[in-house]
C-alpha cells in the first residue's frame, strides 16, 4: 500500500499512523480477503482443490474461505469446461454474486473450449457468457499457475478506483440475461444482434 509519512506526527507514532487514499486502503483490504465461490466444473476443479490444500495453501492469500453461496463470494473461478446445459446456471450464479465481483477463467476449456471446443455441447470459452478478469492457461494449469493468476487479479484490484468501479455505479445492475436451452443454446444478447442479419445472409439448409 502506498502511503505518505507526515512530518507533524511525533517520531514514536510514525510507524502507527499512515496517510493514504481511500482507494488505496480499500483495495489493500479487498486484495487480501477475496472469497471465492466453491464452484467446480471439471478437471481444473481438482487442481483448484489441490491449490487450496496444504501444499499450495490458498490461505496464504486470505482466500481459504470458499463459500457455497454466490451471495457471499467475490470471485468465481471457472474451473473447467462450460457446457451449454450448464450455461444458464452459470450466468445465474454470476448474476447472484454481489458487486464487486471477479471472474477467473482457469484452463483451456474455460478460455476457449480447449480440447473439447469442436464438441456440439461445449461453449467456446466462458467469456462468451460473462466478463472475465484473468485467464490462466493450461490443461490443467498447475497450482503455481493458478496462484500466479490470483496474484495478477490482486494487482488488478489494486489499480481500481471507487470512482470507476462497476460496484459504485448509480444505475441498478440489470444482470446478464440468462440464456435458454432451445434446439441449441439461445443467448438473448446475441440473438438480438447476431441472428437478425444471419436470417438474411445464411442459407439455413446449409447448416
Amino acid at each position: 500500500m502506498k502511503y505518505v509519512e507526515l512530518p507533524e506526527i511525533p517520531p514514536e507514532l510514525q510507524t502507527t499512523v499512515r496517510l493514504t487514499t481511500v482507494d488505496q486502503l480499500y483495495n489493500w483490504a479487498r486484495q487480501r480477503s477475496l472469497w471465492p465461490i466453491f464452484f467446480g466444473l471439471a478437471c481444473c476443479a481438482f487442481e483448484m482443490i489441490a491449490t487450496a490444500a496444504s501444499r499450495y495453501d490458498l490461505g496464504r492469500f486470505g482466500m481459504e474461505i470458499m463459500r457455497a453461496s454466490p451471495r457471499q463470494a467475490d470471485l468465481i473461478m471457472i474451473t473447467g469446461t462450460v457446457t451449454k446445459k450448464m450455461a444458464p446456471q452459470l450466468v445465474r450464479l454470476y448474476n447472484q454474486m454481489a458487486e464487486p465481483k471477479y471472474v477467473l477463467a482457469m484452463g483451456a476449456c474455460a478460455i476457449s473450449g480447449g480440447p473439447f471446443k469442436e464438441g456440439y455441447s461445449v461453449v467456446s470459452g466462458v467469456d462468451k457468457l460473462i466478463p472475465v478478469d484473468v485467464y490462466v492457461p493450461g490443461c490443467p494449469p498447475r497450482p503455481e499457475a493458478l496462484l500466479h493468476g490470483i496474484l495478477a487479479l490482486h494487482a488488478r484490484i489494486g489499480q481500481e478506483s471507487t470512482r470507476q468501479m462497476r460496484a459504485f455505479r448509480k444505475a441498478p445492475d440489470e444482470g446478464i440475461p440468462v440464456p435458454l436451452l432451445g434446439p441449441d443454446l439461445v443467448d438473448w444478447r446475441r440473438y438480438e444482434g447476431l441472428m437478425e442479419p444471419a436470417r438474411v445472409e445464411v442459407d439455413w439448409k446449409e447448416l
Binding site: 473439447f116 461445449v122 432451445g182 441449441d184
Partner: protein
C-alpha cells in the same frame, strides 16, 4: 459372417437349441439376436446360463448398407458371468428410419441410464422403458449427435489429422470465424424462439417426479414438495443435479439429472486418430488418469493382438495401484465433507495425493493428467531413483498416514452415525443395477476384474478381494480402506520385482491403424469396471469409441437407495458411491 470366438462360441449351440433361428453369428464379434426375441434371450442367459451381469449397452450407427446388411443401428449388449471369464456380446439390429427395439430395463435395471443414453445420442426408441427421456442433452435439442450424418457447428472434416487449414500460410482463423453464426451454434431451418417451449425439459422431469413411486395406500395424503439440489452444490462432487420429491424430510422419489459436463468424448473420439484419444481418456475420470489410459490401451491391444513387455506390465500395475490409493483416499476424504466435517478429512487425502502425484509427474511429466500408457507398453521408463522414492512411500509413509486416516474416519462417531445402515444395497440388487467396483463388493459380491479376467499380469500378484457384508454407506467407506491395504500389498510385490527390459515393444506412428473388428476391453478401475467398446473399420480413426462409464452406471441404484431416507442421507449415499462427473457425463 464372422467366426465365433470365446464365450460366444461356447454358448451359441445352447442358445440355438432353445431359440432356433433367432440367433446367428455377428459379422465381427458376438451374436446377432432377432429384436423380438431379445428379452427372452437375455432372460434365458441370466436365469439359466448365469450371465447375471449386464455390463454395457450401446449402439453403433451404420448409415450405409453393406453387402450383408441394410443401413442399420447395431445395438450392442455385453453380458458377463460373475464367476469370471470373458464377455458375451449380443447385437440387435434396428431399422435406421424407424429404430425401435424392446427395452431390457424392466428385466435388467442396469440398462436404464444406458438405454436413455442411446435414445439421447442415436434416437433409438426402447419400447417398454419406463422413463425414456434424454440423458445427457436436454429435451428439445436438435438431432441425435452420435449418428454419423449429424454434424456439429464446428464440423470441418470427417477424420483427423485435418488437411491444413492454411495451405498458403498465414495466421490461424478461430473456429468461430468459419461458421455462419460466429459461434458453436446450430439451429434448424426456420426456427423461431418465440414459438418455442423452453420449459419442456423441466416439465417432463417434474411430471416424472410427481408420478413415480406413488403410494396410494398411504393413509394420510400430505403435501409433498420438489427440491432441486445442484447443479451447483458443494456436495454433488461436480455439476450434478438431483431433483428430490420430499414428504417433510423424507425422500419419496429422487431423479438424477446428468449432462452438465457432457463434453462429447465419443463424437470427438470418432474423429481423432487412435492415439489422439489417449489424452482425452485422461479427462474422463480426472482423479485417475492412469487407469483411464490403461483401459483404453488394453482395449486397443485386444484389437491389435500385441504382447506387452514384462517391464511395462509391471509399471502399469504400479501406476494403476497408486491411482487406486489416490482415488480411495480422496473418495474417503470427500465423504467426510458430505457427512459433516468440512474439508478436514479431505486435507489428509490431498496431502498424500501430492506425494504420489510427484511420482507420477516424474514418469509422465503431467501432474494430474498423464497421457502415459501406450498400446504395447508405456510412454517412458522410470527415472533414476524413482523406485527408491516409491518404496519409501509404500513402506514408510503411506501405511502410517492411512492408518491414521482410517482410524479417524471409521471410528468416528459422526461417520458411524451418518452411515451405518444408510443406503443399504442388497447383493442381488447390486448385480441387477449393474454396479461395479467397491459398490458391488461392499454388497458382498466378490467380483474383481483383476481376478475374474486378469490383465497386466495381475494373476502373479498375491492379494485379496475385499468384500463387506451389509452394503451400506459405512461398508462402502470401510471397503475402500481395505482396498488401499491390498493395493499397498501389490505395490510392495511389484516394486521388488520390476523386470528389466524394454517398456515399449512396438514403434508407434501417429497414423497407427487398427485391424478391422470390434472389441470390449475393461479393467478394474478404482471406481469399478471401466470399459472401452471400440469398433475399427481398419483405418487410423475409430469407427465407434464408447466408454462404459462406471461412475454413471454406479448411480443407477441411487433412486432406489435414497427412497424413504432423509434428505441429509442423500448426500451421504451419493458420497459413498464415489463419482467423478467427468466420467458420468463424458
Amino acid at each position: 459372417m464372422g467366426e465365433l470366438k470365446g464365450v460366444a462360441a461356447d454358448i451359441f449351440p445352447r442358445l440355438n437349441e432353445r431359440f432356433p433361428g433367432a440367433l446367428q453369428p455377428a459379422e465381427r464379434d458376438g451374436l446377432v439376436v432377432d429384436a423380438r426375441q431379445l428379452v427372452a434371450v437375455a432372460r434365458f442367459l441370466r436365469d439359466e446360463q448365469q450371465f447375471h451381469y449386464l455390463s454395457s449397452v450401446t449402439a453403433v450407427d451404420y448409415p450405409q448398407p453393406t453387402a450383408e446388411f441394410p443401413a442399420r443401428f447395431d445395438l450392442v449388449y455385453h453380458f458377463y458371468r460373475l464367476s469370471g471369464g470373458g464377455y458375451l456380446a449380443l447385437h440387435v439390429h434396428a431399422d435406421r428410419d424407424k429404430p425401435v427395439v424392446p427395452s431390457l430395463t424392466p428385466e435388467f435395471p442396469a440398462a436404464d441410464f444406458q438405454e436413455r443414453e442411446v435414445w439421447d445420442m442415436f434416437g433409438v426408441r426402447f419400447e417398454g422403458h419406463p422413463d425414456l427421456r434424454r440423458l445427457l442433452l436436454w429435451e428439445g435439442f436438435d438431432g441425435f449427435p452420435l449418428r454419423k450424418d449429424w454434424k456439429e457447428a464446428y464440423y470441418e472434416e470427417e477424420h483427423k489429422p485435418f488437411k491444413s487449414r492454411f495451405p498458403e500460410g498465414g495466421a490461424p482463423v478461430p473456429a468461430e470465424e468459419r461458421t455462419p453464426l460466429k459461434d458453436n451454434l446450430r439451429f434448424p431451418a426456420g426456427w423461431e424462439p418465440q414459438d418455442w417451449d423452453f420449459e419442456e425439459a423441466d416439465r417432463l422431469l417434474y411430471q416424472r417426479m410427481l408420478s413415480a413411486d406413488r403410494d396410494p395406500a398411504k393413509p394420510l395424503q400430505t403435501d409433498e414438495m420438489i427440491l432441486n439440489m445442484g447443479p451447483h452444490h458443494p456436495s454433488t462432487h461436480g455439476v450434478f443435479r438431483l431433483a428430490v420429491r420430499l414428504d417433510g424430510e423424507t425422500v419419496r422419489h429422487l431423479e438424477p439429472v446428468f449432462g452438465y459436463l457432457h463434453r462429447n468424448h465419443e463424437k470427438i473420439g470418432e474423429r481423432n486418430t487412435w492415439l489422439q484419444n489417449i489424452p482425452f481418456t485422461d479427462r474422463l475420470d480426472y482423479i485417475n488418469g492412469m487407469t483411464n489410459n490403461l483401459a483404453y490401451c488394453i482395449a486397443m491391444e485386444k484389437l491389435l493382438g500385441w504382447e506387452v513387455p514384462e517391464r511395462a506390465q509391471t509399471l502399469r500395475v504400479i501406476m494403476a495401484e497408486f491411482a487406486r490409493i489416490i482415488n480411495h483416499m480422496v473418495a474417503a476424504g470427500f465423504y467426510g465433507n458430505d457427512v459433516g466435517f468440512f474439508v478436514t478429512a479431505a486435507l489428509y487425502a490431498m496431502e498424500e495425493r501430492e506425494l504420489i502425484l510427484d511420482l507420477f509427474e516424474a514418469v509422465s511429466g503431467g501432474r494430474m493428467l498423464y497421457n502415459y500408457m501406450r498400446p504395447g507398453g508405456v510412454a517412458a521408463d522410470l527415472p533414476e531413483g524413482w523406485v527408491e522414492q516409491a518404496k519409501l512411500l509404500v513402506d514408510e509413509r503411506l501405511p502410517r498416514k492411512i492408518e491414521l486416516m482410517q482410524t479417524m474416519m471409521l471410528e468416528n462417531e459422526i461417520v458411524q452415525g451418518r452411515s451405518v445402515g444408510v443406503g443399504v444395497l442388497p447383493p442381488d440388487r447390486a448385480i441387477a443395477f449393474g454396479t461395479a467396483g467397491p459398490v458391488l463388493r461392499a454388497s458382498g459380491v466378490p467380483y474383481d476384474i483383476r481376478r475374474a479376467e486378469p490383465y497386466c499380469g495381475y494373476e502373479q500378484f498375491d492379494f485379496d478381494i475385499v468384500t463387506a457384508e451389509h452394503g451400506d454407506s459405512y461398508d462402502r467407506l470401510a471397503l475402500r480402506f481395505g482396498e488401499i491395504w491390498q493395493s499397498l500389498r501389490i505395490l510392495r510385490q511389484a516394486l521388488d520385482r520390476i523386470p528389466a527390459g524394454p517398456v515399449q515393444a512396438k514403434k508407434l506412428t501417429p497414423g497407427l491403424k487398427l485391424p478391422a473388428g470390434e472389441t470390449y476391453g475393461r479393467i478394474e478401475a478404482p471406481k469399478g469396471e471401466l470399459g472401452f467398446y471400440l469398433v475399427s473399420d481398419g483405418s487410423a480413426n475409430p469407427y465407434r469409441y464408447h466408454i462404459r462409464a462406471t461412475s454413471l452406471i454406479n448411480l443407477t441404484p441411487l433412486s432406489y437407495l435414497t427412497r424413504g431416507m432423509k434428505i441429509a442421507d442423500v448426500v451421504a449415499i451419493l458420497g459413498s458411491i464415489d463419482l467423478t462427473m467427468g466420467e458420468v457425463d463424458r
